[in-house]
Structure formats: structure tokens, C-alpha cells
């Protein structure tokens, strides 16, 4: 075996390969970050998800992030083709992908480079790499592999060549489709996991994929093989203590949570056009929506998708459309119509990198301002952003209610990080109160106009086709309370006022957000959406040094949560941390006059008149806590 003796002194002392006393080298660790990277199609993600589920089942906190190549079948052994997964797990709950990896399992050396490019490794990271390339029949491959390994060692990684393919081949002729399971076995040994739950999960997975007993048995064999090999050869293993859950837990990604939230909200129509990274939500719904009385419509384009949803909603059926940035752009005009004619609708934007086609599979928080202001004219509407996967579920229920109560579009901003990240959370207790009410078909009260705006709140009830005496012609033209086309200036002013007033009415029902950390201090870090876990982790780290830093997370972006100005006033400085573009003051030509701010900062500056600073990046991946930490520390030091 080429596996080198590691740092587990006792183990090395007592045993050689194959005869090691397994528990001798077991060490307890509070948390670990492990990655599996492979060529596309080698199943790293499947293995990683299974491993994450097993950890979650045992009671560990878990967060998994997928590493997704941009193409379906990128060339093998290429950096851009790297496909994989990161699993961060620990004794405490995990809210984000964390910093550098502790362990990486790589199926070849080239895909590993993509992780190095992403700054995902540190000196000391243990690197398990398939040794098959050393014996490749292709001289060039052998050479590349050898060079890379030397390079990895120079970079300080703890390189372990292991026989992934060789071992897998003992069980199957097609090791590309089995290596992942062998690695799952290896990780189970490395992290002292019971095999039984892994076996159960594999069975479930393949049953869901309608595979027979033979396939399940083969995969079980591979897991056992990886496990046995690991127990015999690993010179260091880890135990990550778990706390068994007291309540039932579920584990899913943000897109599944959004889709399940649609079901929970009693939404009847989901109308969409395929777009990464939103599509998996519809894939999920396509399989199950009908069991909950819903219908998924794949439209001819995003305009058709929202048009269909608006038609359904106008006819009294609650509807959602799910998309990403480019789709949002196409829906713009109809979102404006929904504002103008007060048609309830829920619009989910799973944000990706923009503008244009941008970074289709990668995270960005670039659609905040366009969601708020992206349509011509004045377009008051509700914009909310869940900050966790659990909130992806809950916010759909809230969004549906808001849309109908306030007769308005509600935009739910998630992102690629939430969409593909997985983490366990308490199993929601389903309630009939979540469901939309049945369509009202009772006679409409004669004489009550279609927009009988309450003069204080702007709220009004809407007639639904089928209601006798309620007939009205909805129009996108300026209209009065009867929905009659009205160009008179006073009428237009009144209608605009009423549509805007609804937002104030909603805002008055909201509570100020809770500060994470002390209620006052030197610096307040403000975020929105998927960054909450990473920001809070960074802030906690800095607070441990006695620094007076707190953070605040905003979920209602429009209408904006109340009390912000007052909260900001208790801190010497306020800054946002966001995954979108902003100018750096240190860049050429950039000064306080020319600087373009990050999107939430822009909004908060306008809203509070506080000189809100920002630090934002567009790395095409979630912000790791350590980068946020560095940014905050720099701001604190700049102060002195």
C-alpha cells in the first residue's frame, strides 16, 4: 500500500497496514469539512448527500454544498469539469459551508485544481487521491499526475494515494459508477459512522430510482469494501460527537423546501420555464404536486409562465411561478400588470450570477434592486428573502397569504446557495390553516366596486369569475375603483396612493429585526438572504476577541422592516455584507462620490439616511465565514 503512516502515533506504533487496531487512532473533533470531487457523472454528489444524511440522522449538524460544473458533460480530467460536494458537519448545528476543507477525496488530480482555484484547501488538508493515474497507459497522464502530486505536497497538503478504482473494480466492471459508493464506505470508516444507516439510505435511494435488488446489493458491497479498507488502512479516524434529536427532523435543499412550501400553502398552480438553478424545484413538484391537488405547467417561456399563473390567480386559484434572474427579466412587464391590477401571485427568484446569462449555476444576490424597482412606473410589491432552508419552506406559506391579503405580487428571493444546500431542520407540523381558502363563488355584494380601496390601508376584496354580480374588466390601464379606464389626474393619483398604502399597512404589522449580539457597539453588519449563517459565524468569531460587533439580518426587503434607523443609531458604524458587486474605495477613480454600493447598502442608505458602508464579492460561491471575518476586521482596524 502506498498509504503513508500519518500522525496517529499510537496506531503507527502498534500496527502495520491491515492489522491495525481500529479504535487506537480514533480522535474526537467538534466539526469537519470534507469534499468529494470527481469528473461529472461519477456520482460524487450522490455519495456526499448520502453521507450528509447519515450524519444528520446520527444527530450531527450538517450543511452540504454542491460543486456543479457549468456543462452537462464537460471533458474528463478537466478543471472546469469538476463536479462534487462539500459536507460540513459537526456536533453543533451548521448554517453554512464553512472555510477550508479538512479532507478532500479526489477522483483525479485535475478536478482537485478547481478546488485549489476556489481557495477551498489549506496546508494540512488531507488529500485522498485515486492512485490509478500513476499506472495510466498514457504517458502524458502519468506525467501530469506525478507533477500534480509533487505540487500538492509543495503546497502543504497531506497527500494520500489510495486505490479507489482498483478496489472498486473487484466488485464491478464499471468502476466509474461504483467509486462513489466505495468512497462513501471509506468516509464512514474515517468518521466512525455506523454502516447500517448508510445501507438504509442507499436502499431508499435506489428504490426511489426503481433499481432492483442486484443494484442495491452491489452498492452495499462497495460501501462495505470501502469501509473495510478504511478500517484496515487509515492511520487516523475521527469521531464527531452527535446529539440525538429530540424532535423529528427533515433534511432537504432549499428548492425542495420551496416546492414543499408551495404544497403547504395550498398553491394549486405552479407555472414555470426551466432555468438553472430554479429547475430542481419544479422537478420535485412534477413528481408530487398532483398528490396535493396541484398542477405544474411548463410554459413556452417565462412570460407565458407568469401569464398562465396570473390567469389562474385571476380565476381564484393560488399560483406561483419559479424562476431565476433571466426569467425575472422576462416576467417584468407582467409583474407590473400584477401590481397595477392587484393580482395576487407568488414569484420565486432563485438568484444566480448575472447580468445576462452570467454564472448559471452559481450564487449571487444580484436581483434585490431589480425586484424592488425593476418594472416601469411605481411598482409597490412585497419582496422577502428567506435566510435558511427552513425559511424557504415557511416563507412560501407567508408569501401566499400576503399575496392574497394584500392583493399583490410577492417576490421570494432565494439563491443558488440555498437552492442546492442541504441541512436538517425540525419537521414542520402541517396545518390546514396554511392552505388557501376555497374559491369564493357566492354573489358579490351589488354596488361594491372591484377595487373598494379602504381609504386608510388601500386594501380591497376582489371579485372572482363565477361570482354573480361581481363582473368587472381587469385592466392594466390606469383605472378607478370600478376598474374603469380613468386617465383623470386625480384618479391616477388616488389609485397610485392606494396601491402604495398597502405596503405601509403591511409594514405597520412587522416587528423590528433582532440584533445578533449586543444591542449596541462599534459595528453592525447587516445582511439578507442566504448569508446569515456565514455572517453570524464570522461575527461570533470576532466577538470572542472582545470586539463590539453585532449583526442584523433583514427578511422583509419591501416593505422594509421597521426600526432600522433606530437600531443603526446604536452603532458607530453600519456595513452590509452581500454576494453582489460593489466598488472598492481603494480602486482607481472610486471615491465616495463615484462609488457604486452593494444593493442592500444602497437601499438602506436611501431608507435610513445613515452612511451605510458595504463589503461585497461575486466569487460565484457562497462567502466563507473567514472572508467575512477578514473584511470586518479590516473595517474595524480602519476605524482606529
Amino acid at each position: 500500500m502506498r498509504t503513508q503512516a500519518g500522525t496517529c502515533a499510537e496506531a503507527a506504533a502498534v500496527s502495520g497496514p491491515g492489522r491495525r487496531e481500529p479504535d487506537a487512532c480514533l480522535r474526537t473533533a467538534p466539526a469537519q469539512i470534507v469534499e468529494i470531487v470527481s469528473d461529472s457523472g461519477e456520482g460524487a454528489q450522490t455519495a456526499g448527500q448520502l453521507f450528509g444524511t447519515v450524519c444528520a440522522k446520527m444527530g450531527n449538524g450538517v450543511w452540504t454544498v454542491e460543486i456543479i460544473p457549468a456543462e452537462i458533460e464537460p471533458p474528463a480530467r478537466s478543471r472546469e469539469g469538476a463536479s462534487g460536494i462539500r459536507i460540513r458537519f459537526g456536533t453543533e448545528p451548521v448554517t453554512n459551508m464553512g472555510n477550508k476543507a479538512d479532507v478532500v477525496v479526489a477522483f483525479n488530480e485535475q478536478v482537485l485544481y478547481s478546488r485549489i482555484d476556489q481557495d477551498a484547501l489549506r496546508p494540512g488538508t488531507v488529500l485522498f487521491i485515486d492512485d490509478k493515474w500513476a499506472a495510466s497507459s498514457d504517458a502524458r497522464t502519468r506525467e501530469d499526475y506525478g507533477k500534480a502530486l509533487q505540487d500538492f505536497r509543495e503546497r502543504g497538503y497531506d497527500v494520500r494515494e489510495i486505490p479507489i478504482e482498483e478496489q472498486t473494480r473487484k466488485h464491478t466492471e464499471t468502476p466509474q459508477r461504483g467509486k462513489n459508493m466505495w468512497v462513501l464506505g471509506l468516509l464512514s470508516a474515517l468518521y466512525n459512522r455506523d454502516l447500517a444507516p448508510a445501507m438504509d439510505e442507499v436502499r431508499l435511494l435506489f428504490e426511489r430510482r426503481r433499481k432492483g435488488e442486484a443494484v442495491i446489493e452491489l452498492n452495499h458491497q462497495l460501501i462495505r469494501s470501502g469501509y473495510t479498507w478504511g478500517m484496515e488502512h487509515l492511520d487516523q479516524r475521527f469521531d464527531i460527537p452527535a446529539r440525538p434529536h429530540r424532535e423529528s427532523m427533515v433534511v432537504m435543499n432549499g428548492n425542495a423546501a420551496v416546492a414543499m412550501g408551495c404544497i403547504a400553502a395550498g398553491i394549486e398552480v405552479c407555472s414555470m420555464y426551466p432555468i438553472t438553478p430554479a429547475t430542481s424545484a419544479s422537478h420535485y413538484m412534477a413528481g408530487v404536486f398532483h398528490t396535493a391537488g396541484g398542477f405544474l405547467h411548463q410554459a413556452e417561456d417565462e412570460i407565458g409562465a407568469i401569464g398562465f399563473a396570473l390567469g389562474a390567480s385571476y380565476a381564484g386559484k393560488t399560483a406561483v411561478t419559479i424562476t431565476s434572474g433571466p426569467g425575472m427579466a422576462l416576467k417584468t412587464e407582467l409583474i407590473g400588470l400584477a401590481v397595477m391590477a392587484e393580482i395576487p401571485i407568488v414569484i420565486v427568484d432563485v438568484q444566480r450570477g448575472g447580468p445576462a446569462t452570467g454564472l448559471p449555476t452559481k450564487v449571487e444576490q444580484g436581483d434585490l434592486l431589480s425586484s424592488l424597482f425593476g418594472q416601469p412606473g411605481d411598482v409597490p410589491k412585497v419582496v422577502i428573502a428567506p435566510s435558511s432552508i427552513e425559511e424557504c419552506f415557511q416563507f412560501m406559506i407567508t408569501a401566499r397569504k400576503l399575496a392574497e391579503t394584500f392583493r399583490t405580487p410577492v417576490i421570494v428571493l432565494t439563491d443558488a446557495n440555498l437552492a442546492t444546500g442541504q441541512t436538517p431542520f425540525a419537521k414542520p407540523k402541517a396545518s390546514e390553516e396554511w392552505l388557501s381558502p376555497p374559491v369564493d363563488q357566492s354573489p358579490w355584494k351589488k354596488g361594491v366596486p372591484a377595487y373598494a380601496w379602504d381609504s386608510e390601508t388601500g386594501l380591497s376584496a376582489r371579485p372572482i369569475p363565477g361570482q354573480p354580480d361581481g363582473a368587472f374588466v381587469l385592466t392594466g390601464l390606469a383605472h378607478d375603483e370600478h376598474s374603469h379606464v380613468a386617465y383623470a389626474s386625480a384618479k391616477n393619483q388616488q389609485a397610485m396612493r392606494m396601491r402604495s398604502r398597502k405596503m405601509a399597512a403591511l409594514q405597520k404589522t412587522l416587528k423590528p429585526p433582532k440584533v445578533h449580539g449586543d444591542e449596541d457597539g462599534d459595528l453592525l453588519v447587516v445582511g439578507w438572504g442566504s448569508t446569515r449563517g456565514a455572517i453570524e459565524e464570522a461575527v461570533d468569531e470576532i466577538r470572542r476577541d472582545g470586539q463590539r460587533v453585532s449583526s442584523l439580518h433583514i427578511r422583509f426587503l419591501a416593505p422594509i422592516e421597521p426600526g432600522l434607523r433606530e437600531i443603526f443609531g446604536r452603532f458607530r458604524r453600519v456595513m452590509t455584507v452581500e454576494i453582489n458587486y460593489s466598488d472598492e474605495l481603494t480602486d482607481p477613480l472610486i471615491d465616495a462620490d463615484s462609488r457604486r454600493y452593494a444593493q442592500l447598502a444602497w437601499l438602506l442608505r436611501a431608507h435610513t439616511l445613515v452612511d451605510v458602508d458595504c463589503w461585497s464579492r461575486v466569487p460565484g460561491q457562497p462567502l466563507p465565514p473567514h472572508l467575512i471575518e477578514t473584511a470586518i476586521r479590516e473595517r474595524l482596524e480602519g476605524e482606529r
Binding site: 414543499m260 398542477f295 407568469i306 401569464g307 396545518s431 374588466v473
Partner: protein
């Protein structure tokens, strides 16, 4: 007594809707605009078929023709330019109890809304699509439309339109799953009514192109057609559009055409010597997407919650 029966029926007499009950606000189209006649025909249709106004929805885009819903007394959705069809399909999807009509113009349907036109025809959901084709953009004041004849001078092509127009009938016939394709002319009200009646009764998407005069930006072609009825060719068949002899006599030229004959329909649409009116094609057994979209409509609240719980359990660890 008095020879009257004494056993009065106890049921409430059915509601009867008069023509006036379908009349919305006063039409604002130009005098002589072909849209007026179509509006009257539609109101007659509603009266003849006794469509409950609260169960009837008129959907439109933007354009002169798209003002249609305002002039009906029924539910209406006067949306955005080109987007009537997705909205209509969404309304139809979960409300099989509603009668859905779409009023659209040649710019609205065949230009900005062309993608939706193709797909809505293919979805074949039960509704009537009235294409009020005046070969020009009326509302925005005389620009070339995709159905404007080559050479027609407009504000955007003062030297004449460069290209041959799209033929809405031929195009619709070319879409898989098209199930009802008819043509009529606004200046023959009984034929318009008969065509719309057949369209309304057809189970699926009924595409009706109505050649519509725009006296404000007149199309010489239509003026000629009206002056020289011999250029119109009435399509007749037992399965076609039912018209009485008086209407038949309005047409000098008639031809038997079996509406199940798609190739024949295409040849007719290609004819340059005559403008066929009547039913080109009908297929009552084409797939209907609205049979799919109603899936699960009757799901009870309890079943919805049960489905949610089953799903959550699948993700339970």
C-alpha cells in the same frame, strides 16, 4: 279556472339573459370599424347560448381589438400586448366551468404574441380565439403588421412593406394539435355569428380569423373583397359551419370541403384567386391540455394535508 293549469311548477324559473345584459360600456371604436359588428355577434352568441355572464370571461391583449372585454358585460381581463393567450390558458386551466373568449389583433397575436399563439393552439384548451385581423396596427397609428400585404405603405414602411405577410390560417393549420380553424369576414354578421357559435361549441381551442375592416387605416384588399363578394369562397359541409340558405345565397362561390381533410384545408388556404370563409379544419379528438390541467381539482383539504405529511415524512431522517 280560465282554462289555466293549476299545477304551477315550484322551481325557480331559469334566469334568462337579454342582449342588454351582455352590453358593457359604450364602444369607442371608430365609426365603421369592423370590431363593432363582431361585438354585436358575440353578444348575440352569448344571448343565444344563454351564457351566464358571471361564468364568461373575455381576455385580451392590447390594441383596438383588445378593447373588446370593456364593451361586454362579463368578467374581463384586458392585459398586456401579446399576452392574452397565456392568461386565458391559466384561467381555463383550473376553471372548466368558465366560458373563455380571447379577443386579439394581428399585431397582438401574430407578432408580439406569436410564441403564445403557437403554443396555445397546441395546448388546445377549450376556448374561442378571435383574431380580429385588420392587417395593420390600429391603436398605435398605422404601422406594418405581420399580416400587412407586401407593398402596403405604412408609417414604418412609407415605401411599402418589404415582405410577404404571414398567413394566420396556414400558420395555425401547421401547428400540431390544431383542432378548429375557421375564417369569416366582419361585414357578414350572420356568418360571423354562425362561425363563432360553432367555435364556441367546439371542444378545444377554436381559432377564428375574422377579416376586419379598419376604415381609419383602410386596407385596399378588404375594400375590394367587400365590393366584389365573388372573391369570397364559402366552404360548406355537413360538419362545417351551419348557415341557412339566406346566408348561403350571399356567396356566389361555394365549395364543399370536408373539415377533417387537413391537406385540403392547406390547399384552400393557399388559394390566391379566392378567400375561403368557413371551416378549414376540425378535429374533435385532438389532445386537450385542459384535461390534464384539471388534475387533482377535487382534492380535499384533508387530502392536501395528508399529501404534505407524506412528503415531509419522505424527507424525515
Amino acid at each position: 279556472m280560465y282554462g289555466l293549469k293549476t299545477d304551477w311548477p315550484a322551481e325557480i324559473p331559469p334566469r334568462y339573459f337579454t342582449l342588454q345584459e351582455y352590453e358593457g360600456s359604450l364602444p369607442r371604436w371608430c365609426p365603421g370599424c369592423g370590431d363593432h359588428g363582431v361585438l354585436t355577434a358575440v353578444q348575440r352568441l352569448c344571448r343565444d347560448e344563454q351564457l351566464e355572464p358571471e361564468k364568461t370571461v373575455f381576455v385580451s391583449g392590447i390594441g383596438c381589438a383588445s378593447r373588446f372585454p370593456h364593451y361586454m358585460k362579463a368578467y374581463g381581463f384586458h392585459g398586456l400586448h401579446g399576452r392574452a393567450l397565456p392568461v386565458a390558458c391559466g384561467i381555463r386551466a383550473r376553471r372548466p366551468d368558465l366560458h373563455v373568449f380571447v379577443a386579439t389583433g394581428d399585431g397582438d397575436c401574430c407578432s408580439i404574441g406569436a410564441a403564445h399563439w403557437v403554443h396555445a393552439v397546441r395546448y388546445n384548451m377549450n376556448m374561442v380565439l378571435m383574431l380580429l385581423d385588420n392587417n395593420v396596427y390600429g391603436l398605435t397609428k398605422n404601422q406594418t403588421s405581420p399580416t400587412s400585404l407586401k407593398g402596403r405603405k405604412t408609417n414604418t414602411h412609407p415605401r411599402g412593406a418589404w415582405l410577404e405577410p404571414i398567413d394566420p390560417i396556414q400558420t395555425t393549420l401547421g401547428i400540431q394539435n390544431a383542432s378548429f380553424v375557421a375564417q369569416t369576414v366582419d361585414w357578414n354578421p350572420p356568418h360571423v355569428l354562425a362561425t363563432l357559435k360553432a367555435a364556441h361549441r367546439h371542444p378545444g381551442m377554436s381559432f377564428v380569423r375574422i377579416l376586419q375592416r379598419c376604415p381609419h387605416y383602410p386596407n385596399q384588399d378588404f375594400v375590394e373583397l367587400q365590393n366584389n363578394p365573388a372573391k369570397l369562397l364559402l366552404l360548406t359541409h355537413a360538419d362545417g359551419i351551419e348557415v341557412d340558405d339566406a346566408v348561403k345565397r350571399m356567396f356566389k362561390n361555394r365549395q364543399e370541403h370536408d373539415p377533417s381533410d387537413l391537406d385540403g384545408a392547406r390547399r384552400l388556404a393557399d388559394r390566391e384567386d379566392a378567400v375561403p370563409v368557413g371551416l378549414f379544419y376540425r378535429n374533435d379528438s385532438a389532445d386537450r391540455y385542459d384535461r390534464n390541467t384539471v388534475e387533482g381539482l377535487a382534492t380535499s383539504r384533508r387530502d392536501k394535508i395528508a399529501a404534505l405529511e407524506a412528503e415531509l415524512s419522505r424527507y424525515e431522517i
